[in-house]
């Protein structure tokens, strides 16, 4: 409890500090930071379109960040969300070739869920097997798989695309589309799936035996081995599950808007998920607000191009992560010193 409060405090201070740095940058360009921030947050939170975009961006980031956090809690780094989300979304979108257009929406959405899940899992399977069998480091293999998967999917997209000019799959039937919060805007109910998944993973890690095994391996592989935990099997499972979660990250695209798979549809969202997980200190549920914060910073950043470079959003995201990591480290040291002689 106390630790959770500390982390929240660190997060708030880090956000305020990064906004302060942003204010300096804006002021240096001769503009009023308060005015610019007013436009920024007004755009991201005050307009229907902005809110909807924030929800849409939050959704993808929750999935990719959960993937990163899950692997991290099991003692691994999954740098492959970029490729996993790509293959997952492609598999879901490819259902238009498999299922008849008359398939009821509920069935199609369920099928798309499992297709995306499997796509992501398959994408992570190769690094996972290599890690357990050959002790290959997953950072290298998952990262390299990104390049392979993007190329492979793009290759297959040639056969799956709608026409010679448009590099995308045919749109899914209207009946398969998930509900959107506001007509005409992108934010859709897949975000609920993301939030439920975050809750589930939180519960799973804390309250189940399998989750315990994952955390034990992540914190102390030696002790886990002594405790009779099948470290190889759990490691394989965690990395594959992490890939599966990342695979869901494109569902808001494929099942919502625009309703098809498009080449490079979510650039950099896999890597950005790592930063979001870091911001949330790898707490699955903390990822929900962290992803929201990132989405707000990104969305608002696009609205202030008149006064500041649009990259300011990205800059603030990065500064926040740095401050959070720094703050958490300082807190940990302070805590350690406090406990050293207690």
């Amino acid at each position: 409890m106390r630790a959770a409060l500390n982390e929240l405090l660190v997060l708030i201070v880090a956000v305020l500090l990064s906004l302060g740095v942003g204010a300096i940058l804006i002021a240096l360009r001769g503009h009023d930071p308060f005015m610019v921030y007013g436009v920024w947050f007004g755009e991201a939170l005050g307009s229907a379109g902005g809110r909807s975009q924030v929800i849409f961006k939050t959704t993808t980031l929750i999935f990719t960040a959960l993937a990163s956090a899950l692997a991290f809690r099991g003692g691994m780094f999954n740098i492959g969300a970029e490729g996993q989300i790509y293959l997952g979304a492609f598999c879901a979108a490819a259902l238009v070739f498999v299922l008849p257009a008359s398939t009821p929406g509920f069935v199609a959405v369920t099928a798309a869920f499992f297709a995306a899940l499997s796509g992501g899992a398959v994408a992570a399977l190769i690094p996972a097997v290599l890690k357990v069998r050959r002790h290959t480091h997953e950072v290298i293999t998952t990262m390299m798989m990104n390049f392979i998967l993007l190329s492979v999917v793009n290759y297959f997209l040639r056969f799956a695309r709608e026409s010679a000019e448009v590099v995308r799959t045919p749109p899914i039937p209207a009946a398969w589309r998930v509900l959107r919060f506001e007509r005409g805007y992108d934010g859709n109910t897949v975000v609920l799936l993301a939030i439920v998944l975050a809750l589930f993973i939180t519960w799973f890690l804390r309250r189940t035996r399998a989750g315990y095994a994952i955390r034990a391996i992540g914190s102390s592989p030696g002790a886990a081995e002594l405790g009779g935990i099948a470290t190889g099997r759990v490691t394989l499972g965690v990395l594959v599950a992490s890939g599966a979660v990342a695979g869901l990250g494109g569902l808001n695209f494929v099942l919502g808007s625009p309703g098809y798979f498009e080449q490079h549809f979510a650039p950099f969202q896999g890597y950005l998920g790592i930063a979001v997980a870091l911001l949330a200190r790898n707490h699955p549920f903390g990822i929900v607000p962290a992803a929201f914060l990132f989405a707000v910073l990104a969305e608002g950043g696009q609205a202030i191009q008149e006064w500041a470079p649009p990259e300011l959003g990205t800059i603030l995201q990065a500064i926040t992560v740095v401050f959070v990591v720094l703050g958490a480290e300082l807190f940990a040291r302070w805590e350690k010193r406090r406990l050293a002689h207690a």
């Binding site: 309250r207 189940t208 035996r209 399998a210 315990y212 955390r215 034990a216 914190s219 102390s220 030696g222 002790a223 886990a224 081995e225 002594l226 405790g227 009779g228 935990i229 099948a230 010193r337 406090r338 406990l339 050293a340 002689h341 207690a342």
Partner: protein, 508 residues
Amino acid sequence: MTNAGSANAIEMRGVTKRYPRVIANQDASLSVRRGEIHAVVGENGAGKSTLMKVLAGVTRPDEGVVEVGGKAYQKYTPEEAAHRGVGMVFQHFVLVPTLTVAENVVLGHEPRKGVVFDRARAESDVLALSRRFGLEVDPSAPVETCSIGVQQRVEILKVLARGAEVLILDEPTAILTPAEVDELLAVLRRLAGEGKTIVLITHKLREVMAVAERITIMRAGRTVTTVEVKSTTQDAVAELMVGRPPKHEQRPPARPRGPAVLEVKGLVARSDRGPVAVHGIDLVVHAGEIVGIAGIEGNGQTELIECITGLRAPQAGTVRIAGTDVTSSDVATRLKLGMAHVPEDRHRRGVVLDFSIEENVILGAPPDRYARMGVLDRGRMRTETLALVKAHDVRPPDPDARMSALSGGNQQKVVIGRELGRSPRLIIAAHPTRGLDLGAMEHVDSSLVQARANDVAVLLVSAELSELLAIADRIVVLYGGRVAGEVDLRSATADERTLGAMMAGKTA
């Protein structure tokens, strides 16, 4: 660094150090003469380490004065202490495992040839230093291939290479075998003979009585008194240390041995580094007996234990637990057969430091003991943890306390409580009392004796011959990965001298 004007190398007066929840040092004082071996003794938590950290410049005291060579510290940094010629050899080594002995010793002060690291000179310097003080090392060996005893010598060499006149050693013998302890004590005498001042922190009184000139006793953060070794006795010091007269435990009475629970035949195993470390060991442990494994560190004990517990695959031979061949079984199978394991490396294997006490208690439990349908049974975890914490006097008695916040002794109590709480048939205990204070040590040993009374088979690896002689029924001595000798204490007596000879490879 010498200052001929002052008789005392170190003067610490009125040192007080408060931490938010505890006062580590309260008005503590220490004077050490130049060229003296001075022991600071006290139980864990008595404030020895804090006082030494103040002396080494690692910790700034809230009050008090520290004078080295007649001049008071102006600031408390390790650099300042090093500048005054004070060097500390920590209990937990600070070495780079992949670098060689020589590289570790010169790290940060590397000799150069132009801009290039002069390896030849580093190695010859280290060799010269090691010869001068009788600290035998191979300068070109990577540290990760060295035994604990050798690694400690490297730590001492590091401090000497920085020109230290005052050496502080924190529990240096806690991890050494009797032979290594004797070597270390000889080294300390030689260093003192060369004019170095030695401050020795320990709670092992036998060694203190053998090597120190004076002893400062600490209790509850205060320095109780300083006594001359010549004019006191071990029991008197122990009483000052603990605050009550020491108990002298009787050997538990012999019991009839039961059926064989652990059978090891022709075991051959390689070490992590590749060479064969266990050369065909046969070993049987029966129900209701404690079999001690003695030997100098690195003579195959670790590999033997790992093969028995399923953490290492043997090259040849068989391991049976309760009649079942488990040679190629996983750890979980062995746990199911009633094996309990108190591992050698508590921090790496025994506990998960990031977990709460409660989460550590369920490590290695049978799958259905704390879980229903894969979901953890919090109620059961809580009640059993509370019972364990109470039975073993774990402090703090809070199931949610993080393991990393517990002292080593309390961590070990959790491990002991967990492993013995499963009604095992076989206990494999590797150095279970290493680094613990007297109270915790007595608790661990009496727990093992209690298990023996309940017909449990106990295999106890210990570097403390006195511990093995006190509670084991048989002692098997390992040397070079082979059984060098065996003494059945039920029918014969043995002293540390004869066992020590076997440990050095002389068969009895």
